[in-house]
Symmetry: C2
Subunit: 248 residues, 2 copies
């Protein structure tokens, strides 16, 4: 049962319900962490790797318009940002040239370690994001938005997130959003916000993904235990071979 939705692309049904999006996403993560004893380090590694694979599928190396396979990864202070750091690290090993902008670093030792891995691998970190969007358009093939994700209301209105969103809203290179496009309202989606070209849903698509009108929508949830998929009625798509992401 895969109903078609407004955007013209197909998604598994049912999705996470409207008002309980955050609650349900949190319940899935709680179950993975507490009952299944997954580690946060392990989940962030799995999701970050899957996001990097999704980026390679959306923007294969030979298809990139710029000579250098540059990608800008913008990381927020919380878990979504840590997933962005892992994504950047794997992009590096897939022969892309990621650059990270991570203005508000978390003191969490786990996130610090993910940061160190990138720094030691000589992935450049920007000290500020150019407000002149043309500089970004010219320098990178794509931007990975790992700013807010499902933690939206935590930091959306605050700096430096507000300034980043204002910049991302005006760039013309494609944006890859992780889980929930930064600044999107969880229910009404992205009116007035950024318009990602690619969305990577972690575990399962969130309700706001119905409003996603971009080119590719991937889900990264292959590792989810069968019982979790059943309990939360995730109706996962079929992943070919050993793929960790699948395009809907």
């Amino acid at each position: 049962m895969i109903p078609a939705h407004g955007g013209g692309w197909q998604v598994p049904s049912p999705w996470l319900g409207l008002s309980e999006i955050k609650a349900e996403a949190e319940a899935i993560e709680k179950e993975l962490l507490e009952d299944y004893r997954f580690g946060r380090q392990q989940l962030i590694e799995i999701w970050g790797h899957a996001c990097a694979v999704a980026v390679t599928k959306a923007f294969p190396l030979p298809s990139l318009p710029r000579k250098q396979p540059t990608v800008l990864v913008v990381c927020g202070p919380a878990q979504n940002g840590a997933i962005g750091l892992v994504c950047a690290r794997h992009l590096r090993s897939f022969d892309y040239e990621p650059t990270i902008f991570y203005p508000k670093r978390s003191p969490d030792p786990l996130y610090r370690d993910f940061t160190t891995q990138c720094e030691k691998m000589d992935i450049p970190f920007l000290s500020y994001l150019p407000t002149e969007v043309q500089l970004i358009n010219d320098a990178y093939n794509a931007v990975v938005d790992a700013v807010l994700g499902a933690e939206a209301e935590v930091g959306e209105g605050r700096e430096p997130c507000a300034a980043i969103l204002a910049t991302l809203k005006h760039i013309r290179i494609p944006i890859v959003s992780l889980d929930v496009p930064s600044g999107w309202d969880a229910e009404s989606g992205g009116s007035g916000g950024i318009s990602p070209d690619v969305l990577v849903s972690l575990a399962a698509p969130k309700e706001c993904a119905r409003r996603f009108l971009g080119r590719r929508h991937f889900v990264a949830g292959r590792f989810l235990p069968y019982d979790v998929q059943k309990k939360f009625e995730l109706n996962p798509p079929e992943y070919p071979g050993t793929e960790c992401v699948v395009a809907l």
Copy 2:
């Protein structure tokens, strides 16, 4: 520079040197953990996932001789065993039917968590390994040897490892060994020991892999930072696309 070796297959040169195998493998891991701040959970997850992918390449689902895609994963008490647990979990998500034999469980909370993940995913655990090898030959398509690995001398002569090795020596279904085939002498290789059909080298091939005469030899080291590869002269093979393992 990829010289041919006795076994008829090609390996990158240079390998980890003869006498310093263990020291060098430990030095690489130490560098990853201490300098790069990788976590043990993270490394075991990455390696276990890569091992599962290697199993699917060596034994694709449609090629399996038995009706059920069964694989027996035998896990030792130390890190190699934990990698086996992660391998089993990913095999499950790749639609195989892994069964685990893990007779000597580590009290390390990290390994306990990897065990819980498998238990909660309903992967069966054997309470004993049949001494009648025909029972194993009939029930499984392959055996993953995650018993000792590079920690060889720690437990080789002790029970239950000695009994497991005696059994594995006589089975006729193919064996996939992780990193160093269990019971192999690090220098002289496998004389009188088990004869794996498939070897998955973690990070880089160890010296004893020169004596490996099986069908497929994979290396799982794509995630290694470039500077680590250079420092330890790992001369990594080229990984296609986003593959985490490559056949030598």
